[in-house]
């Protein structure tokens, strides 16, 4: 009886160990995949810089990109597809592209845009979920008779680098539960929170990590994750 129990316990232990190993392998694969993805983009960046390409796009590329985007927008607005209106649209879009070709695509790094867009689209559902959550939070606060708000101001230093990721982070903070970006000064975000709890939630930095993941900045976290998992994996073996 005791022997069977012992065998069972050992079995369980082995099964747990095996599960942990499988999980570790999965984590390692994910981390390695993420790192490889990021790495390939970085390699492309470095190659582009070494090939003599500019860090940002050239004027002509900006002009053509702006022109096509504006023309699509014109067709969406106009809704008339006869020759006269399309010609008018081409003239207008040429004028606009001449006037402001350096506005729309300024400060964009050379890299894999498809990857950024895909990652952003996978980030959007989480953001929408957070927005809906935040609205219910504010609604509940506004409708409660005793008005349980307890505002806090907190500041944190961000690890993001480019302005487009700052903008994404700041607007996401403004849209998600109970927090508003009040000011950005020297890379420090001053955030007004309605509640102690949401302030703590923001402090965990989940959103920042996600945005760093989208724009492929601060990549060292992912490398560090992979190394950690590899160490655990080696220990288990």
């Amino acid at each position: 009886m005791e022997v069977t129990l012992l065998v069972q316990a050992t079995d369980d232990a082995f099964r747990t160990l095996e599960n942990a190993r499988q999980q570790a392998i999965g984590l390692l694969d994910t981390a390695v995949g993420l790192t490889a993805e990021t790495r390939s983009v970085q390699k492309k960046n470095i190659q582009a810089i070494f090939r003599g390409a500019q860090e940002t796009r050239s004027k002509l590329q900006n002009f053509i990109g702006t022109f096509f985007l504006m023309f699509v927008f014109w067709v969406l607005l106009s809704g008339r597809f006869d020759t006269f209106h399309l010609t008018l649209g081409i003239i207008c879009c040429l004028f606009i592209s001449l006037l402001s070709y350096d506005l729309l695509f300024a400060n964009i790094r050379i890299g894999d845009y498809g990857l950024v867009v895909r990652r952003f689209l996978s980030y959007a559902p989480w953001l929408i979920y957070q927005i809906i959550l935040s609205n219910f939070h504010v609604a509940a606060l506004a409708l409660k008779p005793n008005l349980p708000v307890d505002p806090h101001v907190m500041k944190f230093k961000t690890k993001l680098e480019t302005d487009i990721s700052w903008v994404t982070l700041a607007n996401s903070i403004t849209l998600t539960p109970g927090t508003i970006t009040m000011d950005i000064k020297d890379g420090e975000f001053y955030v007004h929170a309605l509640d102690k709890k949401v302030a703590d939630d923001l402090d965990t930095g989940e959103m920042e990590d996600r945005i760093a993941h989208i724009f492929m900045e601060a990549d060292h976290i992912y490398v560090q994750d992979a190394l950690d998992v590899a160490r655990i994996y080696g220990a288990i073996r």
């Binding site: 702006t66 607005l77 209106h85 402001s100 506005l103 302005d163 000011d183 950005i184 000064k185 001053y190």
Partner: protein, 173 residues
Amino acid sequence: MWPEYTEQSDNFGGKNKMIRVTDDVIIKTIARVLTPFIQVYALYVIMHGHHSPGGGFQGGVILAASLILLLITHGWAETKKKFSETKTAVFCAVGVLIYTGIGVLCIFMGGNFLDYGKLGGLLMVIPPEARSLGILGVEIGVGITVMAVMFSIFFDTSTGGNSPEDETTSSLR
């Protein structure tokens, strides 16, 4: 906890504060992204004035609004590259010239002032189409003038009549 804005004087003091570049990266980036869309929309309002609401005046105001957005977020130094004071004056005049030119052309073709139907002989189209094209031309002229005048009104009221170049030279003395 609270940031000290003791160095306010560089960004806050002095004259012409309204047309200084803002140091907020969020407002700058959003304005940068939205400006071309607003401009295309303004041109759409001008060009489709005879099908949908709007026309020269409204489109010109929206175009001026996009330039004002650029002016209050990116500052005068950046906006000057696109729309300088000289260009403002020239555009004011050109818009009125287009408007009056079309009107007077109608008189030369044998009609009244702004009698677009008479332009048909010149453009080699039937009178209704000539009327449509004439209205389009007049609206473009009105739009250009309204944009330039609106922009210069905002510029002059926000600077109080002092040109930013004057200020930089006078502060050196």
